[in-house]
């Protein structure tokens, strides 16, 4: 289709006008969004990503003056929903709120991932970080992580670790831990986090790295022994459990990161607007409290580039670890 000079002129003028408007403070901003904004959650309702999205949606709606709808597109470890957003129309109206690590590892672990998280999606902001708790089955009585390591060295292959599934974040973290310490752990995949929890509570497997919301009730009731936690600081609920860093383990012993991404190629002014609005929302006292209720710490990003760089570094690190350990071929 050929563009008439007149149309081109109008388009230029509109663009110029929009750009000028976007430089102005608030009032005009509602015009950036034409119709409802969707937050796609690539997991089933009731999970961490879903709950965060549903807490954020009404606040975002207040900010942008448009309805914000949460939509669940579960399946393939979050990749079906991510694929959907990656291929959505780049108009800035389709967002993805997801656990990032699983998506970043997917290309190295799963075959047939048909989108590129770096090229097809753009970060808007980080949302939250949740540390992991290493819980050990009740029948073991290791007083500390060091004893667990010692036992593992004496009994190669004698201990098993449950994970939420192949390629899941706690699977990769468990592999990293056993590789880093050069231990022979038997890593067993389950159908999701609660199935893995069941396995450790029943004593079928010996330990599990899992998010705080899922782990704390079991750790506090004594059905699992917490031996270590990830992150910078100890958890207030488990003051006697050391962090992996305190134990001298590498910083990559991490947790789960929730972030909001958007279809690549969306108008930059809209992405910026979303970034500013979301960062503000995540900084609010009430939202921090709600995120803490879900076992997380709110981590709004100071800039979008910061998230891009972090994602890029994480992705290549994961890819090289997975290749090195030949995780994918096993």
């Amino acid at each position: 289709m050929r563009t008439k000079p007149a149309t081109l002129l109008t388009a230029t003028m509109i663009t110029a006008a929009t750009l000028t408007l976007s430089l102005l403070p608030p009032p005009a901003q509602a015009q950036e969004f034409r119709g409802p904004v969707r937050i796609v959650v690539p997991f089933a309702p009731g999970g961490t990503s879903d709950i965060l999205a549903r807490h954020i949606a009404p606040r975002l709606s207040d900010e942008i003056g448009q309805p914000v709808i949460v939509e669940n597109k579960a399946g393939a470890g979050g990749n079906i929903g991510a694929d959907f957003v990656a291929k959505a129309a780049p108009n800035g109206h389709t967002l993805l709120l997801s656990d990032l690590t699983a998506l970043l590892a997917a290309p190295s672990v799963l075959s047939g991932i048909s989108y590129d998280i770096e090229k097809d999606l753009e970060p808007v902001t980080m949302v939250s970080y949740s540390p992991y708790v290493l819980g050990v089955a009740q029948r073991h009585s290791f007083p500390s992580f060091d004893e667990l390591v010692e036992y593992s060295r004496e009994n190669p292959g004698g201990l098993s670790v449950a994970t939420s599934g192949v390629g899941a974040n706690n699977h990769i973290t468990s592999e990293r831990l056993s590789h880093g310490l050069d231990l022979d752990w038997n890593i067993i995949a389950y159908r999701g986090g609660s199935d893995a929890t069941r396995a450790v509570v029943s004593g079928e497997t010996d330990m599990l790295l899992n998010g705080t919301t899922a782990s704390l009730p079991f750790a506090l009731s004594g059905q699992m022994t917490p031996l270590a936690v990830t992150g910078e600081e100890r958890l207030p609920e488990l003051p006697d459990t050391p962090t992996f860093r305190e134990l001298g383990l590498p910083g990559e012993m991490d947790g789960t990161y929730q972030a909001i991404l958007i279809t690549a190629g969306s108008p930059p002014e809209i992405i910026d607007r979303l970034h500013r609005a979301l960062v503000e929302i995540l900084d609010e006292e009430e939202m921090r409290g709600r995120i803490a209720e879900q076992g997380g710490i709110a981590t709004p990003s100071s800039s979008r580039e910061e998230v891009s760089e972090w994602m890029k570094a994480q992705k290549s690190e994961l890819a090289s670890f997975i290749e090195e350990s030949q995780l994918a071929e096993r």
């Binding site: 009731g46 393939a76 990749n79 047939g112 192949v166 199935d195 069941r198 396995a199 096993r330």
Partner: protein, 503 residues
């Protein structure tokens, strides 16, 4: 008396206006969702979960739970009247329910399944109130070897479901097992038979298979067969009332079904479909006259109905006492708690006694409501058959399409239903039965997953299956059942031979 105090607490929570209202709302939605083929409680609960942001957690759970067990009531309606299951769990009710309807006993079948549902649920709620913590502790002691052996028993039981040729029955089970392999392998993450389609990564949607091979196949099979209204039996009040004989024959099956359902339901990851299939198989096995099964035996509908309702109710045991959800629906229920900042775990009952006991009492109220709601509706449902084919069946197909779409919002699932509809037709023409296929599909992935997991943990030592008492018991039962089947079929053959030779 602690239990008495707790129940009183439960009543005080459940009998608030809000909770009663949401309970009634939940069970009504659930029941209708169960009736409509293809539209499942999972989709309904997912859609309504966000609503729970605005109501207190107890009220939210009362409603969501109502949808869940309410759907178990309605599921058998379409199985009986139209030979297409409202939910996968009620697929097995087609086997005897539909013949009953064809004999003009559709109304009786509907009333009896309502009664069976009520019995199964009600008894299990009392079990839940009295024994939840010890039962949960027992359930969680099951490990992968035990799961494997139990599922294997289920597979052996599948042979009992077969009505026609045993060879074709076995073939149907194997086709089901193969279909169950589609998707991402849990143990290794390798994709099998997905042909690069991302909608197959998590396996073939069970609703697509159930609705395809039962529902669509049935609709197509009826094209041309039925000209006008398909049922000429007059519907009188009399034809709806079960005889004393019906009731007498159903008491034991209902109790056995309840027992099986409760036992299966407390095990995370099993589900209501296995409960109803197993209950049917056991009923046929213990019956003095197994030949009447498949021809409208009342035990064939009441036992599985009690079982799936009992399983739906007892699935709350591990969910609420341990915070370990048995299936996707139970995970949603826990999500409703998480939304309100209640971390599900082993202390939920002690930390939130009002929530737990209020919910338990709401189960009692909900089930009584369902009973009252369902009985007058039987007359309405039976009249469905008066709707002429050209109107009724296209609407059914529409509902199936909506239902399947609502699970993943994926249009490809609708294509999948259509595909399995064709497969179902082919199977029907060739004389293969859909029920064993469906059971094979449900059990296959669990058998494989648990077998391989057991061996991964034991580092390849097969003896673990025999060392664990629970697993060993199930394996012994498998062996017993196999020997019995061979023995009884050879005895039958001998008798037949004798009759032939004496002629």
């Amino acid at each position: 008396m602690e239990l008495f105090d707790n129940i009183l607490l439960g009543f005080s929570v459940a009998f608030t206006l809000d909770n009663l209202l949401y309970c009634a709302l939940g069970v009504t939605i659930g029941m209708f969702i169960g009736v409509i083929p293809g539209v499942g409680h999972l989709a309904a609960i997912s859609m309504l979960l966000p609503l729970t942001f605005y109501v207190p957690p107890t009220t939210a759970l009362v409603m969501l739970a109502g949808i869940y067990y309410g759907a178990q009531y309605g599921g058998s309606t379409a199985s009986i009247l139209l030979n297409l299951p409202g939910t996968p769990a009620s697929a097995v009710v087609c086997l005897d329910g539909y013949p009953m309807a064809q004999n003009g006993r559709g109304g009786v079948a509907l009333l009896m399944t309502t009664l069976a549902s009520f019995v199964g649920s009600f008894i299990t709620v009392f079990v839940l109130a009295a024994f939840a913590p010890p039962l949960a502790a027992f359930a969680v002691s099951f490990n992968s070897a035990d799961y494997f052996s139990m599922m294997l028993l289920g597979l052996v039981a599948a042979a009992i479901l077969v009505q026609g040729s045993p060879a074709k029955g076995a073939a149907a089970v194997i086709i089901g097992l193969i279909l169950g392999m589609v998707g991402t392998d849990v143990n290794t993450g390798v994709q099998r038979y997905t042909f690069g389609f991302s909608f197959l990564y998590d396996g073939i949607n069970i609703v697509a298979i159930a609705m395809g091979i039962f529902g669509i196949a049935e609709v197509i099979a009826n094209v041309g067969k039925i000209k006008g209204a398909q049922n000429d039996h007059k519907i009188t009040l009399r034809s709806l009332i079960p005889t004393a004989q019906d009731l007498k024959q159903s008491i034991m099956p209902m109790l056995r079904g309840t027992g099986i359902g409760t036992g299966i339901g407390i095990l995370p990851g099993t589900g209501t479909s296995i409960a109803s299939f197993l209950a049917y198989a056991i009923e046929k096995r213990v019956s003095r006259d197994p030949k009447k099964f498949g021809k409208g035996a009342i035990e064939g509908i009441t036992a599985p109905e009690s079982a799936n309702n009992a399983a739906a109710q007892s699935a709350f045991i591990p969910t609420l006492t341990l915070g370990i959800p048995g299936d996707a629906v139970m995970a949603l229920m826990l999500g409703a708690l998480l939304i309100h900042g209640i971390a599900p775990g082993p202390n939920v009952i002690t930390d939130n006694p009002g929530l737990f006991w209020g919910l338990v009492v709401s189960f009692l109220i909900g089930n009584v409501l369902l009973l009252i709601l369902n009985i007058p509706l039987v007359g309405v449902w039976v009249r469905l058959l008066k709707i002429p084919y050209p109107l009724l069946y296209p609407s059914i197909i529409l509902f199936i399409a909506i239902g399947v779409y609502s699970i993943n919002y994926s249009h490809l699932d609708i294509v999948l239903v259509a595909f399995f509809g064709l497969v179902g037709c082919l199977l029907l023409v060739l004389g293969f039965e859909p029920a064993p296929l469906l059971l094979g599909y449900i059990l296959g992935p669990m058998i494989e997953e648990n077998f391989r997991r057991t061996l991964l943990i034991s580092r390849g030592d097969m003896m673990v299956f025999l060392e664990r008492p629970v697993s060993a018991t199930f394996l012994a039962l498998c062996l017993f059942l196999l020997i019995w089947s061979i023995h009884s079929s050879s005895k039958e053959r001998r008798i037949r031979k004798r009759i032939e030779s004496s002629r």
